[in-house]
């Protein structure tokens, strides 16, 4: 208990320090324009072609990530050519506001970056806006964005950790675990027993354990990385709809491919109900196939994104009120939410794996009646 309070005290100190550091960055920005909370938060939870380290948003220190485009051949260049390119201001339809986009220079010539999306410039060398969205064509963008970078680092971290655990067992055989294996083994066993074995038929569950383990640790590790506010983390990877979409589609495919006669029977010709009811149930069940993974996708996306938004919004209290005294309120609250998010990070991984196991379990279940 004392440990915990010491730790939380330390973390609070660090958080206050960070808040003050952020303050100094803010005060520079303040000279240019009004602080826009919504824009700041949206900027942070969305993908980017640079990894912003510190300093003001433009002109601070960033890692410029490589851009890979498929546009009549492969084109690769650094995102520096956008961020240090030519900034173009376009009047918006909104009252007096303006839109900014960045025209690429050097190898990026002919492209523009608007809200982290790459567009091709039109014949007159600019973006044509209709409302807030440009109508220009977009090249296929396979860039190593911030999320992709985070994805690679997360995958690398999982590989290192899990390989070292595996190495321990390979070296020592079936003995009591030590070190990192001691920490992770109960979690691996939990996934195997409480998630896989509890929801999938006892004779069939083993096949799905590797998938469930991978999905659980992928989500958990990336959630935790997302909670770290600086370099190794900070990307909103598991709060990105693309990633959660992919994971949900994986679960959907695994479920569909392992569905047996009994499963399909329940979908197309529900046993034990009158015939008119069978016709009525069929479309509902077919929709049900897709709503389940859809809910998985939205749940993970919304949970993680909402967590990031809340932490950022609470820290923003200081900057909205332009008084460091507000840190006394905002930092403890942000700390509390961050700790809650640590729990959520685990819980969402657990839930995703749990519900995946539940769906797979329903698909491979044999008829009892």
């Amino acid at each position: 208990m004392q440990h915990l309070s010491k730790l939380s005290f330390f973390m609070r100190k660090v958080a206050v320090l960070l808040a003050f550091m952020g303050m100094s960055g803010f005060s520079f920005a303040n000279e240019e324009k009004e602080f826009n909370v919504s824009e700041m938060i949206m900027h942070h939870i969305k993908d980017a072609h640079e990894w912003h380290l510190f300093g003001s948003e433009h002109g601070g220190t960033s890692i410029y990530l490589p851009i890979i485009l498929m546009d009549q051949g492969l084109k690769t260049f650094s995102s520096k050519h956008f961020y240090h390119g030519e900034t173009v201001e376009v009047p918006s339809k909104d009252q007096g506001a303006s839109l900014h986009y960045m025209k690429g220079v050097g190898p990026a010539a002919g492209y523009a970056l608007y809200h982290e999306e790459i567009y091709k410039l039109n014949a007159s060398g600019e973006l044509h806006f209709d409302g807030e969205h440009p109508h220009n064509a977009q090249p296929m963008d396979f860039s190593i964005t911030k999320n992709v970078m985070s994805l690679l680092m997360g995958a690398f971290l999982i590989l290192i950790v899990m390989f070292s655990v595996a190495k321990f067992y390979r070296k020592n055989g079936a003995v009591a675990p030590k070190g990192i294996a001691k920490f992770l083994e109960p979690i691996i066993v939990m996934v195997r027993d409480d998630i896989a074995k509890a929801n999938i038929d006892e004779h069939k569950y083993e096949k799905y354990v590797p998938y469930l383990l991978t999905i659980f640790f992928f989500i958990w590790f990336n959630n935790m990385l997302g909670l770290i506010p600086f370099l190794p983390g900070g990307a909103n990877l598991t709060g990105n709809i693309t990633v959660t979409l992919f994971l949900a589609v994986c679960t959907l495919l695994v479920t569909l491919f392992s569905g047996n006669k009994n499963y399909w029977g329940h979908i197309f010709w529900m046993p034990g109900v009158p015939v008119p009811m069978k016709f009525f149930m069929m479309p509902i069940e077919i929709i049900g196939i897709f709503t389940k993974p859809f809910a998985l996708m939205i749940r993970l996306f919304a949970n993680i994104t909402a967590g990031h938004i809340i932490v950022l919004a609470l820290i923003s209290i200081i900057f909205v009120n332009k008084n460091p005294g507000w840190a006394g309120l905002s930092v403890p609250m942000a700390l509390f939410i961050s700790i809650l998010e640590v729990l959520v990070a685990f819980l969402q991984g657990f839930l995703f794996a749990m519900l995946s196991a539940l769906f797979i379990g329903a698909a491979v279940e044999e008829a009892h009646h």
């Binding site: 964005t145 992709v148 994805l151 690679l152 067992y169 055989g173 079936a174 003995v175 009591a176 590797p210």
Partner: protein, 164 residues
């Protein structure tokens, strides 16, 4: 709005990375880890089973041991008893034997003493007789130194004989 629209590039990279991760982890991490954990669980359950079995065996062994111990104790008791009996018997035997022997010795000694005594008495008797004879001789010699005396004696002796 673009917050909830999937992005092709990220989808592509996620797919590649996740599939690689799944493959690598399944092959090089989950398999050895789960195998080791399963093997250990097997080992532990076997060890537990063995412990129960050993316990039962121990119990049986202990009972057997107790039985053997009991028997040994009984045997020891009987041997001790026998030994004691034998010892008593021997002592008894020795006692009677020694008594008899002692009696024999005493008897022999008595016999010896008696015979010695008799011999001594006899010797004394002969000695005394000799002495008496010598004395008598001396006396007689003195008596018979003169004729009258010889005559008187002869008469007396003759008288004695006649009286007899």
């Amino acid at each position: 709005m673009d917050l909830i629209l999937p992005d092709l590039g990220l989808l592509f990279w996620t797919g590649i990375v996740f599939c690689c991760l799944l493959f690598l982890l399944a092959k090089f991490a989950w398999k050895p880890i789960l195998n080791a954990v399963n093997a250990r669980e097997q080992k532990i359950s076997e060890a537990l089973e063995l412990a129960v079995k050993t316990q039962a065996e121990m119990k049986a062994l202990k009972a057997e041991n107790d039985q053997i111990l009991k028997e040994a104790r009984a045997e020891r008791d009987s041997i001790l008893k026998e030994a004691k009996d034998a010892a008593n018997h021997m002592i008894e035997d020795a006692k009677t034997k020694s008594k008899v022997e002692a009696q024999k010795i005493v008897d022999a000694a008595r016999l010896n003493i008696n015979s010695e005594k008799a011999a001594a008495i006899a010797e004394i008797k002969t000695h005394v007789a000799t002495l008496a004879i010598e004395i008598a001789e001396k006396v007689v010699r003195g008596e018979l130194a003169s004729d009258e005396k010889q005559k008187a004696l002869a008469e007396k002796l003759a008288g004695d004989i006649q009286m007899n």
